[in-house]
């Protein structure tokens, strides 16, 4: 793997913002995930070389954070908040609804690669619970019916 020319430029700018190369690891991994959608073993070696870090250090960082995907996820990555305020406002029924509708369990992707489903902890959107994220976008104050509409627009 290799960065696109644009990402190479972004990477070079990143390095100027930190006194050590190592500190640039999170933004560099974000660039990788932006380019490929996930972070492969090969990508971790590449990042290690770029930043003078061992692949095992890169691995330990990648696995520490929940937002880095180690394998490809669906085109629409649905993440349902399961923490208290959302749980009180019906998050479970959203998860059940999605499981039935998409015929997948948490942690799985539909066969056509369109949707994957997982639950996450508080998204700092508790006042508009229940909340979910699809890729980067927040969707708030949801009901199963509203969710159907959103999914129909995405499909």
């Amino acid at each position: 793997m290799e960065f696109t020319a644009d990402n190479k430029k972004k990477f070079d700018t990143l390095l100027t913002r930190y006194p050590t190369k190592k500190a640039a690891i999170l933004p560099t991994l974000w660039l990788v995930q932006g380019q490929y959608g996930f972070i492969s073993d090969e990508a971790m070696e590449y990042v290690g070389k770029l930043l003078d870090l061992s692949p095992v250090h890169v691995l330990s960082v990648v696995t520490f954070y929940t937002m880095f995907n180690r394998k490809p996820v669906g085109k629409h990555h649905i993440q349902v908040c399961r923490t208290l305020s959302c749980a009180m406002m019906g998050a479970d029924s959203l998860v059940d609804h999605l499981k039935t509708k998409l015929k997948i369990n948490e942690g799985e992707t539909t066969r056509d690669g369109k949707f994957s489903l997982c639950t996450v902890e508080c998204l700092a959107s508790c006042g508009t619970a229940p909340a979910i994220m699809i890729n980067e976008a927040y969707h708030e104050n949801l009901t199963p019916a509203k969710l159907d509409k959103i999914l129909a627009e995405l499909a």
Binding site: R17, T20, L29, V61, M67, L84, S85, M89, G127
Partner: protein
């Protein structure tokens, strides 16, 4: 928010069109403190902030000016400010609004703090999930550079300051200040033992101040209007205003700026339009889920300030107020929290790693199969054994709720005991 803008410090621009641009910010009094700032000595800025009584809004409530004064003076090392925008404490969603609606207010606050402590670099550590908030603060920083408000000779002064927005990647623990530093340095986001405190040995081994977004956002007001004006809000021991994130069973959840000392019952009944569907109030978590719980009766008398919360055996925390109605089962609530803390433990300390998981498993068993009298004693004992024995206070953040839930809602736990004919079973 609140009707009268004269009563606001932090949210005066919320709701204005394009409030997040430098243009609107300046038209509404933004960056006005800069000239005054540079006419003062750094130590005088620290004194003014001390005098204002501003306390950290990230959770612990530590006095901001006092913290800054711990930065050693005659050390030949760079100094850093890290703005904590990790906002991951369940029930808290106020920093998101400050970042989305008024990012330049934060930047002005950053300039004030950095000048006071002698820092030439600041990092804004923002949680990875925030997308709009990230774009708004990043664009505001770039705009500030273009206008010469950041970088070399900012505002034409003999002073240099760089600000970098740094995105996290999903880990609650990175909001803990030393974990934030580890994460920013390029390691796993694991907390480190204090002392040394970050003010002495912080980011890249250099003196570092870590402050919450809301704390820093209050600085332009304090500098412009003076400590005395700020102290007109709030109580003697809790001066100023604070943002409260309200969620749960109220008619109008949301973020509200209120003077400290405001009655909890008025927050629920007046500001938030009362309980949803006319149900009765059962319990309130006042400051994010790590804080001990309040009963409906406590809420009659408690006020939103540090001292009243202490008198009611809890804490103001991050101001994340979660309101629960009479239908809520407190054992179910506690299990939701135990799952959270077990999931978010960084795993370094045995009492935390094992304890949070054990408590979670017990609560699941009690909910599914019914519990025994001795389970309640064991939950208390486990929590006692987790408190104060770990590197950071994540372990306490589950222990304190466990102990307070059992103490304040014993009937909810008894309902789940096996020997009760009407024992409840919950499918989770």
């Amino acid at each position: 928010m609140t009707d009268n803008k004269d009563n606001l410090v932090l949210t005066t621009r919320f709701g204005l069109e394009k409030s997040y641009t430098a243009d609107v910010y300046q038209k509404t009094g933004g960056y006005k403190s800069i000239d005054k700032l540079f006419s003062m000595k750094p130590d005088d800025v620290i004194e003014e902030v001390k005098k204002s009584g501003l306390r950290g809004r990230g959770g612990a409530g530590f006095a901001a000016g006092l913290k800054w004064s711990f930065i050693p003076k005659n050390v030949d090392k760079p100094k850093y400010l890290c703005v904590n925008a990790d906002e991951s404490e369940p029930g808290t969603f106020k920093d998101r609004y400050l970042l989305e609606d008024d990012p330049h207010q934060l930047i002005e606050g950053i300039i004030i703090c950095c000048y006071a402590i002698g820092a030439e670099s600041a990092y804004v550590y923002i949680r990875g999930e925030f997308d709009l908030a990230y774009r708004r603060i990043e664009e505001a920083v770039q705009e500030a550079y273009q206008k010469g408000y950041l970088g070399k000779n900012l505002f034409g002064k003999n002073y240099k300051l760089d600000v970098t927005v740094h995105r996290g990647a999903g880990a609650y623990i990175c909001g803990e200040e030393t974990a934030l530093l580890s994460s920013l340095e390029g390691n796993k986001g694991q907390p480190r033992i204090k002392p040394p405190f970050p003010a002495v040995v912080g980011l890249f081994g250099c003196p570092t101040i870590i402050n919450n977004v809301e704390t820093i956002s209050a600085l332009p007001y304090i500098l412009n209007n003076g400590a005395d004006a700020y102290k007109k809000f709030g109580t003697e021991k809790s001066p100023g205003t604070k943002l409260f994130s309200v969620s749960g069973h109220v008619n109008k959840p949301g973020v509200y700026e209120l003077p400290l000392g405001y009655p909890m019952k008025d927050l629920i009944n007046k500001v938030c339009g009362g309980m949803k569907d006319g149900k009765a109030l059962k319990a309130v978590i006042p400051g994010g889920t790590s804080m001990p719980i309040l009963t409906a009766k406590d809420c009659e008398t408690v006020t939103l300030d540090y001292e009243s919360m202490t008198a009611h055996q809890t804490m103001l925390g991050s101001g994340g107020v979660i309101v629960m109605n009479e239908d809520v089962d407190m054992v179910w609530v506690l299990r939701n929290l135990s799952r959270f803390y077990a999931h978010e433990s960084c795993g370094q300390c045995t009492p935390c790693r094992e304890g949070t998981g054990w408590i979670d498993k017990m609560l699941v068993r009690i909910l599914r199969e019914g519990g025994e009298e001795k389970d309640i004693a064991l939950l208390n004992e486990l929590s006692d054994n987790m408190m104060g024995k770990t590197i950071c206070v994540l372990a306490d953040s589950l222990s304190m709720p466990v102990i307070s839930f059992i103490k304040k809602f014993p009937d909810d736990f008894r309902r789940h005991l096996k020997n009760r004919p009407q024992a409840v079973r919950v499918g989770i």
